[in-house]
């Protein structure tokens, strides 16, 4: 009987043996001088420059995704020009939150994927689409976590399935994935999801939502996030991928930059004085 409360509910050493701390340094390759020198040795890190929420939803004709342009260094709002929505191929968008250096690494990984899988079309007639990009990133992130060397991000991939229905799915640093008609990372999952779900209470009902309604929901959510997230900025980008009006078999990809949060409500505060007791 274990009397130490700190050990209750935890795997016991009798069953699994003593915890091997070398797992932090684990690597798939052989531990010979050649590979040890060539492969940089990193361990489970901490995020340094970070991006906050990414929000996305499906609508009748496609996908809308938004993310602000801020790279925070702790509480310092260090960089205001970070683009966190990455275009892959012609019809997929990848929104990344979390560590910015890992975001840039993901950009390089996706660029290489585009090169090998799209331009040099290997298997005739198949294009790189959102479900493929998602599955690939999901494998990358899960394998990195299993080596205790994660890419410290939470990612949303948006686009279309092969059957032309909208695709929207999430992956994070642990390799967890899930899909819904409304998705968000970070603060967005607490503040934006309830607002987006007011528009789409049941996942299947995204087909009833127009582009204007979806756009309004995104703008409203970005405003709420700016009000309430201390690591959010009011400048953001929005990507819309939808079926073209004239040609339903092709897609239009619109990437709007330098948008600002509008219609902010602050004027009500001028009459607020003090915090409780009588004050002038």
């Amino acid at each position: 009987m274990n009397h130490n409360p700190l050990q209750w509910g935890r795997p016991s050493n009798d069953t699994y043996g003593q915890y091997n701390h070398n797992i932090a340094n684990a690597s798939v390759r052989e531990a010979d001088h050649q590979s040890l020198d060539s492969f940089p040795k990193m361990n489970t890190q901490q995020p340094i420059i970070t991006g906050t929420s990414v929000i996305a939803l499906k609508f009748k004709d496609g996908i809308i995704m938004a993310a602000d342009n801020l790279g925070s260094y702790g509480s310092l709002l260090r960089f205001n020009n970070i683009e966190r929505l990455i275009k892959v191929g012609s019809e997929t968008i990848v929104g990344v939150s979390g560590d910015i250096s890992d975001l840039q690494q993901i950009e390089r990984i996706l660029d290489e994927l585009e090169t090998t899988e799209e331009v040099y079309d290997n298997d005739g007639g198949h294009n790189l689409r959102a479900p493929h990009v998602h599955e690939y990133l999901s494998r990358v992130l899960y394998n990195r976590r299993s080596k205790m060397n994660p890419l410290w991000n939470a990612i949303i991939v948006g686009g279309f399935n092969d059957d032309k229905t909208p695709f929207l799915r999430y992956i994070d640093l642990l390799g967890v994935t899930y899909g819904s008609s409304t998705l968000a990372t970070g603060f967005g999952s607490h503040l934006a999801i309830p607002l987006l779900r007011q528009l789409i209470p049941y996942d299947v009902d995204y087909v009833k939502v127009t582009e204007e309604e979806a756009r309004k929901a995104v703008e409203n959510s970005m405003r709420v996030l700016f009000y309430r997230d201390a690591r959010a900025a009011d400048k953001y980008s929005v990507v819309t991928i939808k079926k073209s009006e004239d040609d339903p078999s092709s897609y239009t990809f619109t990437h709007e930059k330098d948008l600002r949060v509008q219609n902010q409500s602050w004027k009500f505060a001028k009459d607020i004085r003090g915090y409780g007791s009588k004050q002038q």
């Binding site: 700190l6 509480s75 310092l76 201390a230 690591r231 602050w266 004027k267 505060a269 915090y275």
Partner: protein, 217 residues
Amino acid sequence: MNGISVDINHLKKGEVNLGTSIMAVKFKDGVILGADSRTTTGSYIANRVTDKLTQIHDTIYCCRSGSAADTQAVADMVKYYLQIYASQLPFDEKPTTEVAANVFQEICYNNKDNLSAGIICAGYDSKNKGSVYSIPIGGSIHKQDYAIAGSGSTFIYGWCNENFKQEMEQDECVAFIKTALSEAIKWDGSSGGLIRMVILTEKGVERKVFYPEDYQK
């Protein structure tokens, strides 16, 4: 796991932080206090329209930074002491800013182990005109011509040093504070919202508010 580790410097569970940009500046006719309006719990903005400029007496105010609970409690205590002190003065005499600041200092110093409060006490009295006193975390007291404090102040030390002038006019001083706090808010995630100001002169108290559309460049 080797034992339990506790970060005693961290805020207590549920405690709310005035991660902040505050300042007070002496000018020709008196003193102006300025502050942002953001209160955070971690990175959640618990209150985006906070009033951090608290009245201690008729023309003595303070700017609060650090723990919201601690600074409210201390300010309430100082207000109480000043009320009793004022009642014992001759009929037409008012308490000086110096007295208020020293009451702050005594409380903050003697309870330094249990408090997380960075306060700027500023006011106008007819004897000394405008004065500004800084009472940082340890409970020391510093009389200054202008004072900046809070997490956002770190970003404007250089600018304020270069741009502060003695004996500014009221409009000049308002512009000085507005620009300084605008920069602090721009860089500090723990500061934001409105810029509130309180102008203290022989005429009494005047409150001003500036919205993001006014101060954001």
